[in-house]
Symmetry: C4
Subunit: 239 residues, 4 copies
């Protein structure tokens, strides 16, 4: 670490290290669930108690990712100079992640992939209808579509935030592009990325063979509320 | 194990331990055959000679499952206090498993997954027609659909039992939800979960390209009877 | 090995051992290429210089297959008593394999799977048209469909032989059942099983999106002849 | 190495060894991304500073490929006698690779696979429309189709060169055959082979469920230009 590195408190240093390890490791889940090919896809995590987040470097093989080459950024998406990994460029989607962290303080993790079934819905600009109970549990309704936006300004980040703010879904399908997911932390956002591809695939398969049976709205509400509140060992880790 | 733990006979203790090991290990088969993502899906097994069954904890990573964190329940689905793993919550589908064990004494194992092709048929509420010989062998006819039911009371368990009681099939597609399978033991129910996804996929693919050739009922009967009676090294392990 | 074991010459003993090892190992290729689930599928190999073949036991996990539990059979499909593995039942498809060996002396290996795309064509009773050059190379034309036949007599074996005798294809899709493939040895038949699923999948995908371009017959002939004669390091190992 | 081996300068010897290692290793990426079955598919790499390239042997298992059995060829596709691996036949697609290297001096790597979705488009002779941003990034527009051509003369190589010369795309779908990709080196061509299958699959899935939303040409241009110039850590490694 060079002499330019900022002086963080020991608590923040420890939090940065934890997020670096989590974010590096969680990229492995994108591989495990076949959500990415080559160097596509990226996971980031907010550093609790600081105006910082950690994201993967651009164009580096998933085999070579570890805590020390993850990149620390401020909430404007600028690399924090003098910190581990800062000699590399961060993911080309860093500006979109930063925009989400700046505008959605409740978000602790952001994930972007090009997982195939989710991208297929995005290429048609079509939301995924909520016809399976696992989707009601996880997303509380349909997966919405965000606007067409290309890299170069804040338009991707703004599209994500405008679509997901106040929405039950933690996933948005950016038109012609692919899914972005958010969560209370990086792991939660990765789970949403895994689940959105799973429901994108299942509903695609279901619909190509005939008409789907809708789930009544009150059943969707009931499933969503139960799952957010009582599922798992640490329900309050979700929200 | 705390002092509240019930005093089981050595035979029951040994049986519990065997089922714990089997159930923990069999979750690995759900992973191997891509039947689940994240923490979805669950396997349970009845403890022979006792009013007990073993099931997985809720929301725990498949990488972390082992015999010691499987959860022992009575046939009302209550965790047996003071036993290994009892500090955790059991699978959120525990009530459905318990209902099956209470009402189908011949059942020794229950499995639930959200495997994609099976869920796709469930989202249309459509039974899978028996057009391949492997399906006649294993299920003896079509895979039936069970009612729409949501978590919160006995309605899922009742739907499973009412659909499968007296039916050749060991698998039911619960509408908008997914497959539940039963078997003489946990392994047999896992096999049924693997096979139901395989036939759901194959018949989906077959039908999307043109009309299917039905198998005559007497051939289905002949295949089912042969398979149940003579296949494998331990035919009587199946029924 | 019990005292009933026949006295083979050392050459035949050595050949049996080689085929046992090959057949056990080649089942791993069925797993690698996702052609089978659970204990489905089987590979057999003829013992050169003897009226014998080696096949897998029935209903045994693929994890547990090795040379010593493969089963030695005569060309009527009877287990050779007193030989390694003879205490178990052979694959329930043994009679079909034996029929092929009895009636096609040029065949040194037979494979059967329920690979999904191949079974999908079989469930429609539809041959796979030859629209890709790799298929012309490997099979020299379409993959034919064999008759509906069920286990219990020689009808499966007869259907395979009547369809493949004099045909360029080493694969047949038995109606409503699945693919059987043949080869000069077990490895060659396994290759055909891998390739038939690959072409079944590719042509399925191609056709569901629009009309296919046929390959002129003379190009098919040219590709097939070249591939059978010059491809690979050991062209004469193929024919 | 026999006495016939040509005397290369130490620099060329070192470059040959590096390319041998890269080409052998990169075949593993074709396996990792499920682009090939059995011994299908091949990767080659030009030796910088020499009129030579390295390609895989014909019909050899992917498990057995290493630097020492890769084959060194001149730009007419003739094996360089006396060099490591020269006792074997090179890939049956060697003539096509050689034609590309002779006629496109900017190309440093060539890859051919039979990846299923790409072949499916090729069997219809249909180009893949550019409807996803990752495809605009990587290929700058649609993936073109090349002519029907069979092994035996220069027609495959000529078809590749005539289609890709002056085209943004590094991938061509040879009709009824499959994808060939080019790159600045072997790794770049492998990346293109991975990406062309990914986009072939995604656009196939997208279109089978309804109409696609086109991406405006100026957005495609902008994405392509940015990606070629600024993406990754070593942008100039791409072009």
């Amino acid at each position: 670490m060079s002499s330019e590195a900022p002086a963080f408190t020991p608590e923040v240093e420890a939090a940065i290290q934890t997020v670096r390890e989590d974010v590096a490791r969680l990229h492995g889940e994108l591989v495990r669930y076949n959500l990415i090919v080559w160097t596509g896809g990226n996971v980031s995590g907010r550093v609790p108690g600081a105006e910082l987040f950690v994201i993967k470097p651009s164009g580096v093989s998933y085999d070579d990712l570890d805590a020390s080459n993850m990149i620390l950024c401020d909430l404007d998406g600028n690399v924090v100079p003098g910190t581990a990994g800062s000699e590399r460029s961060p993911s080309s989607d860093t500006a979109a992640h930063a925009y989400v962290y700046r505008n959605m303080p409740e978000v602790g993790g952001v994930v972007h992939t090009h997982s195939d079934y989710a991208v297929a819905w995005a290429a048609r600009g079509e939301e995924i209808p909520c016809v399976i109970t696992a989707m009601a549990d996880e997303f509380g309704g349909p997966i919405p579509v965000g606007p067409f936006a290309i890299i170069g300004d804040d338009s991707i980040g703004r599209g994500i935030v405008e679509t997901l703010r106040g929405h039950r879904s933690r996933a948005v399908l950016m038109q012609n592009h692919g899914p972005f997911t958010i969560g209370v932390d990086a792991k939660d956002a990765v789970k949403a990325a895994v689940m959105v591809e799973d429901v994108a695939r299942t509903v695609h398969l279901a619909r190509e063979a005939g008409p789907l049976i809708p789930i009544p709205q009150e059943a969707i509400d009931s499933l969503f509320n139960r799952y957010q509140n009582v599922y798992g060992q640490n329900a309050d880790a979700r929200r």
